[in-house]
Point group: D2
Chain length 346, copies 4
Amino acid sequence: MIVVMEKGATKDQIQHMAGRVEALGLRAHLIYGTEHTVIAAIGEKREHTKESLESGAGVAEVVPILAPYKVASREVKPEPTQVVAGGLTVGAGVMGVIAGPCSVENEEQLISTARAVKAAGATALRGGAFKPRSSPYSSQGMKEDGLKLLAAAREETGLAVVTEVMSPEDVELVASYADVLQIGARNMQNYRLLEEAGRLDTPILLKRGPSATMDELLLAAEYILNEGNPNVMLCERGIRTFESHTRFTLPLASVPYLHHKTHLPVVIDPSHGTGHTYLVPDMAAASVAAGADGLIVEVHPNPEGAFSDGYQSLTFQQFEQTMARVRKVADALGVQIASQSRRVTV
Amino acid sequence: MIVVMEKGATKDQIQHMAGRVEALGLRAHLIYGTEHTVIAAIGEKREHTKESLESGAGVAEVVPILAPYKVASREVKPEPTQVVAGGLTVGAGVMGVIAGPCSVENEEQLISTARAVKAAGATALRGGAFKPRSSPYSSQGMKEDGLKLLAAAREETGLAVVTEVMSPEDVELVASYADVLQIGARNMQNYRLLEEAGRLDTPILLKRGPSATMDELLLAAEYILNEGNPNVMLCERGIRTFESHTRFTLPLASVPYLHHKTHLPVVIDPSHGTGHTYLVPDMAAASVAAGADGLIVEVHPNPEGAFSDGYQSLTFQQFEQTMARVRKVADALGVQIASQSRRVTV
Amino acid sequence: MIVVMEKGATKDQIQHMAGRVEALGLRAHLIYGTEHTVIAAIGEKREHTKESLESGAGVAEVVPILAPYKVASREVKPEPTQVVAGGLTVGAGVMGVIAGPCSVENEEQLISTARAVKAAGATALRGGAFKPRSSPYSSQGMKEDGLKLLAAAREETGLAVVTEVMSPEDVELVASYADVLQIGARNMQNYRLLEEAGRLDTPILLKRGPSATMDELLLAAEYILNEGNPNVMLCERGIRTFESHTRFTLPLASVPYLHHKTHLPVVIDPSHGTGHTYLVPDMAAASVAAGADGLIVEVHPNPEGAFSDGYQSLTFQQFEQTMARVRKVADALGVQIASQSRRVTV
Amino acid sequence: MIVVMEKGATKDQIQHMAGRVEALGLRAHLIYGTEHTVIAAIGEKREHTKESLESGAGVAEVVPILAPYKVASREVKPEPTQVVAGGLTVGAGVMGVIAGPCSVENEEQLISTARAVKAAGATALRGGAFKPRSSPYSSQGMKEDGLKLLAAAREETGLAVVTEVMSPEDVELVASYADVLQIGARNMQNYRLLEEAGRLDTPILLKRGPSATMDELLLAAEYILNEGNPNVMLCERGIRTFESHTRFTLPLASVPYLHHKTHLPVVIDPSHGTGHTYLVPDMAAASVAAGADGLIVEVHPNPEGAFSDGYQSLTFQQFEQTMARVRKVADALGVQIASQSRRVTV
């Protein structure tokens, strides 16, 4: 922690702050610059340190040196984490492809999609049974009936099931059907939910909030890891910016950045990240080239008739073409797409 | 709803989309422009209409004409809503001032703050007992013990109590102590929590998420209103932008914009909205001039020693000076600050 | 300058960087933390220092301590700068109000507006003769003919003339007619133009670019100051964010922030800052309460028929009402609106 | 153009607006919805139409149907444009790779870089002779001496020369040395410069401003095209968002989006787009997979000692490795990197 004093800070203010640093159990090291005095606070970081120093009289700025997350950090665990969930393997050189409809709508829709995405090379099936919707007037999903259809689709295809959980009290229920629990972007800082998810060892797909910083995303992961669940996949699904020609702005530099900072695998969602079907195939291929450990893609038998997200869903044929492009890039770069899923039963 | 067809859309595609509009129970009205054909979909809006049409072949864009929220809308209720919660009155020409520490830390801290902010003109006391924290290693608050201290401070000062609730299962508990439940920015789209809050009639202070659009904020309010709780105050607390010299960017134009669109009162949080103590007084005064119905301000007996948010908290003296400035502007513009609180007991 | 080394930085890398710091004429001061080594680089800052150190092997981050601007800084000149330009006075407790049409269209339009805004209390007339337009198919302005009309309006009303200059080669021409040269948001980093403007002593109204940081704005001012022109007014006109219900997001915290960092006066443009007529009056009043030294507002005799920006222009009557609200706030806060303009001729 | 009237718009207001639409030479077509009346304005779009209608009494919104740009549009010219400039070919299935230092510093630096990037497969040399710098205290470049060194490097290597022009008066000079004129992000809306560049037929590399919308970028291109120069390459170099772990946010979805809207080729700048050397290789590969027609990459013999941008420059070896990765993706996707440059002399 570096405490930068204001240009006009008095000797008393400097002494006072040095005292506060020491009172926090840190060692204060003063550096007298040409214009500013700087206090280096040496020692292990404690809770509230930064906030507590920041409001001191005469303080211009407090610069943290250590990252705020620990268990998620690559400094702590240099080798990449590989998450395995049923037929899905993600990370450490193996790429997983999760595909399926935004919402589970009915058996026919789900089973036909599961078959189609498996045939095209997906290794997991996505599908929302509990749906967070911006409007109270939109359908909130099929709930447990949807989970049952997902499990049935897994039974038939061997695809792992990835589905969202929205509330702490649903965690147990959803985990009893799913191979991977998705925590959505709106819930990235729903700490109760994170803690509940941390008490299981079911793998978690944690989506970045649309205005979350990288530190916030990694701290959200830390909530889960800290409770004891090591199986966390991070998902970049686009951020909110001034751009309106896409639904969100998809920053693929998140992939190499996160690989630099954390051992957790990184999955990209080009469907939400762009919001338009016609942009998905190129961004899926680009994600692989950026080093992504996984993809999650919306696919629907008839996007025009979808309950939700039809405008960003691929048809079966479009998904097949996307996978062909994805596979070319993966092969060229020596990335394995783990398509040989084992048969799994709950 | 206006469906704009692509320039090259075929006659078949246009006919198909017109058919889809009719199938949704709307009337399709075709307009042949110089370059584009446009289909006006006339009738009451239904769920999924926009999404469903957007993915149609040959469709360039779907432009909604009606706002997605209803009960929150000024079209539905032209006169402004006034929310009364114990000693706090907000809206319809009366301004409420909510002040207090970020976190409830102990009795002495809370009671002294309550007395000081009341003396300076505040009408409600804020203080967090359940604290959402970005890091799992930060203190999560005093929980029910904090609520008890808040109730005791109300007992002594008559100030209304405003405090955050983070999870649906805590709603009942928090409501048994508080006059106003705050739903924080991170939980603006925690729909279970919104629904639970909607089942009470305790007033709700709903904070805008840092990347929420105005429509999303009003739809979140709609979740509460739709369950039957009419006492919703909207709170602008700053949005996330590229600016880093302030913690968030505080867009005061939200005040007249929201007044134009909704009958719900609008409260400004200049503490989170700027993130720096020295910016709070001017932004508090500016909020009043912009027409805000309320203020929520962080005040602490000793910001340097605060558990959280010290860098954006005012001392008692700074709050007194801020209130003096706020009162000048309010008086000049004929806005009443309801400082004469009634004595309230739970 | 603080050079933070990576956790795993080798002794050699640390020695190498310390050597580089010394080679730049700075003193290197090493601090060995629990996990990271930090090098404080002491001495006057030089060009390229940060950039040059940042790319060193083993360097995690370089944190500058000194602001990059100098002459604009309040550390260098603590007392506020007051800019006087004909009938317009801005800064140091005096507020100036600049009003008029977006584009100069014809004599009748301009003179009637000049009379109306003067009657309502404006102290300067704005009007574009050279217009930067996003599209090559939009009208580019009346050019010198427009300047002549502005000068004629000043002749009659005594209002100072504020008008935009877009290109270095026009600076002399525009300055021969105008009291204040406006440098628009799109040209904030047109360095040739800034330098040319710096060679005059005609006051400059420098608008913030919609994605410029505060440091970039102050460095742009520094280009002008550095050439010898001390008469710079900074103008906040809104930034580009994800918000689309306003044309730009107007961050009024810029006012107290800039007052803290610089002695230059700060003018707010609530017309561009919101992009909607109905939001302008409240934001104008809020600007004054936030401490703004001036306002620049678009006013048009018939906004519906305006060549440009009609949707954000006030009618004469709306401007009069806005000024009434502005004056109430200014009076309450002891801010003088210098409406008694002297008669000025070129 | 669709004019949406407010819910409460009076019959008179509707008639008045319909009249205004007709007065603009358009045909007004009224649609009476359940709650809103909508006026479709049919005919070719004219200047000021949207702005002019937007300020009408009773108007809620004006929705443009036609894109504001014409010549740049794919509707006007469906086949992709290929730009050829000396040894550089960009577009229509051929990818160009532009590499070199941020600033031209001296002969040795430039020649060694030119040789190295050519050996690694680049087809053009970049290097700034005129440098736009945020601070007046930073070096502004070698100017014409730098241009001479660039021309000498071309003489020896056959690489095309890409260099920035900052001001209209320098266009002729720079064009006498360069194969491609770069217009930087800060100058994207410097209309005089765009017009001047449009009077040549030297290819232009037009960089997107960090807060420019896609429409604004295409309108800036339109300024050049409209003057008669058809050789425009668009360059995405990152936008300004709340993200601070990268210097800018690089939205690769710009590539397929622009390919959908315009026939002009799209070049990606992963150096400015990320701001960190270690992120460049993956983002370069991802750009190719996203369909980019070209790359522009900063390379320096000794990034630590670079005058500028060292922290985002690649060493020769890093560039070679990047090109190996880029080539794998290009080969896999059937994209040709035109590395066989012809010998060119000025």
